[in-house]
């Protein structure tokens, strides 16, 4: 009964909520547009938007030393998670069967393990860092903590179910992933799809004023 619920109705419900709420969020942000500005633009906003989206992938030189640890651990986690999500063999199989209808080459098993280690290690380090650094602890809301722990648990249970020998382990992983889908559009995790908009907006506004970000 529980297995049927997790594998069936709850999966469709959480995926629908994820899809509808994420699109709604993106459309709402885009629909707000930019405030009307009558001043003559000094530079093209579009170029600034594009440049800022990419420039912000690395920290400013002034902050490079101070944010070295977060930068490295952050990239390990984000790239690792992205690779696991779209190129782990069980995920490719699941996505092609349930969503896309077609599949693509998956990572070999050793790469899956190695990527899992990098991503989980990076995330665990970031979670501890968030708690230990007085600034990040002060800036973090309960939603931020919840998001990172939920992602961590999803990844961990995925790794625990790696042998694919026990259905119960797969169901625990899937259930947590479904909770993540439900939470995604409403918490800080939504930055995964909104970051180009926020960076682009900042870049466009300041570039228009002649400020290089």
């Amino acid at each position: 009964m529980i297995a049927w619920f997790i594998d069936g109705p709850f999966w469709y419900f959480s995926f629908t909520v994820f899809l509808v709420a994420s699109v709604w969020k993106l459309v709402a942000i885009i629909a707000r547009g930019r405030p009307r500005n009558l001043a003559k633009p000094r530079k093209t906003p579009g170029g600034g938007a594009l440049a800022t989206i990419f420039r912000r992938f690395v920290p400013y030189p002034e902050f490079r030393k101070a944010s070295r640890v977060q930068f490295r651990a952050g990239y390990l986690f984000h790239l690792g998670l992205l690779a696991l999500l779209f190129f782990a063999a069980p995920h490719v199989e699941f996505i092609s069967r349930r969503i896309t209808g077609f599949s693509w080459p998956a990572m070999p098993h050793w790469a899956f393990i190695f990527t899992g280690e990098l991503a989980l290690g990076g995330l665990l380090f970031l979670i501890v860092y968030r708690l230990m650094n007085p600034v990040t602890r002060y800036l973090s809301s309960w939603g931020d903590h919840f998001s990172s722990w939920l992602v961590f648990l999803v990844m961990l249970t995925g790794c625990l179910a790696l042998l694919r020998s026990h259905e119960s382990l797969r169901l625990v992983h899937l259930f947590l992933a479904e909770l993540l889908l439900l939470w995604f559009p409403f918490g800080s995790l939504v930055h995964a799809i909104t970051f180009p908009l926020s960076r682009g907006f900042t870049g466009a506004v300041y570039h228009r004023k002649g400020v290089n970000l």
Binding site: V69, I113, G116, E117, L120, G121, L124, F125, V128, Y129, L131, M132, N133, P134, V135, Y138, L156, C159, L160, A161, L162, L163, S165, H166, S168, L169
Partner: protein, 342 residues
Amino acid sequence: MLALLWLTAPLFAAVSHDKPPGLVENPGTDLWREVRRRAPELQALQQAGKRGPVRTQVQGVDTTRLINARGEQWRLYRHRWLIPGSLWLLGGVAALVVLLYLAVALRLPPPRESGRRLLRFETYERTLHWFMAALFLFLGLTGLLLLWGRPLLIPLLGKPAFSAIASASKEGHNLMGPVFLVSLLLFFARFWRRNLYQRGDFAWLARLGGLLGRGPLRVGFFNLGEKVLFWLVVLVGLAISLAGLVLLFPNFGQGRVVMEAAHLVHTLGAVLLLAVVLGHIYMAKAVKGTLEGMTGGYVEYNWAREHHGAWAADTEAAGRVLSVEEVESRRGQRSLVKEGGT
């Protein structure tokens, strides 16, 4: 005659135990006994470069061996000594720690409040410590589930549930093990300098960390007890990790003996380290004011003077003693700028 029969009865009993009356001996017994007996001879031939009379298409370690008696010896050793021994040792240490905590630690007073604080561990150092601690506890838990699970959990949960737990523990343990090694190397790189021998370390030992004698002890950033803990964690942790890698990658031709030795080093080292870490947790909780250094980074000035006098004096001479207000300001809990001021 009766007395003679009575005295020799155990010998007959032993014989009859091997072959219970009414049971016919397996006709293949002699064959398999012969196979087992010849295994070392075949191995000796192989080591000498002669392939011996056994042929197989399966190429690998021990593939020409039909019966390996060492496997049974290892199984018995694990079940009779390793599992109960580790259970008694860790259970005993845990019970002792709880008793000491209730009987002694709860009565120890906190350090006198001076209104001054010293930065003991920076953010990166605290993060590294808890990162490694989290990995160690995860590996310890999953490792003990694998070691003790069969005798302890199967009677409680049943075989199917334990099978899932064991599978998850194995995967989690194998996955996080190499990450622990990385954390250990980072930890070593950060702290090794502060854990070298310094003058006064043996004076600390001679006075059992201040339990004996009078007058202040001149202790630097770490005392000898903490230094011993550091080197134990690093060296035993390294041994556990390397032995774990031998077990994790059995595809490099290591045979049963090497795997058993790696298993032994891995398990004994882990049990030893878990016992030591239980003591470490006790000391951090018992000596009031210690844990604050590893959670918030700052320690009470009086605590530092009492336990690490030389370090406190050096820090004070360098002008790095802060007020409580300054510490709270650094944490973003208070603004030092008065309202209406600039």
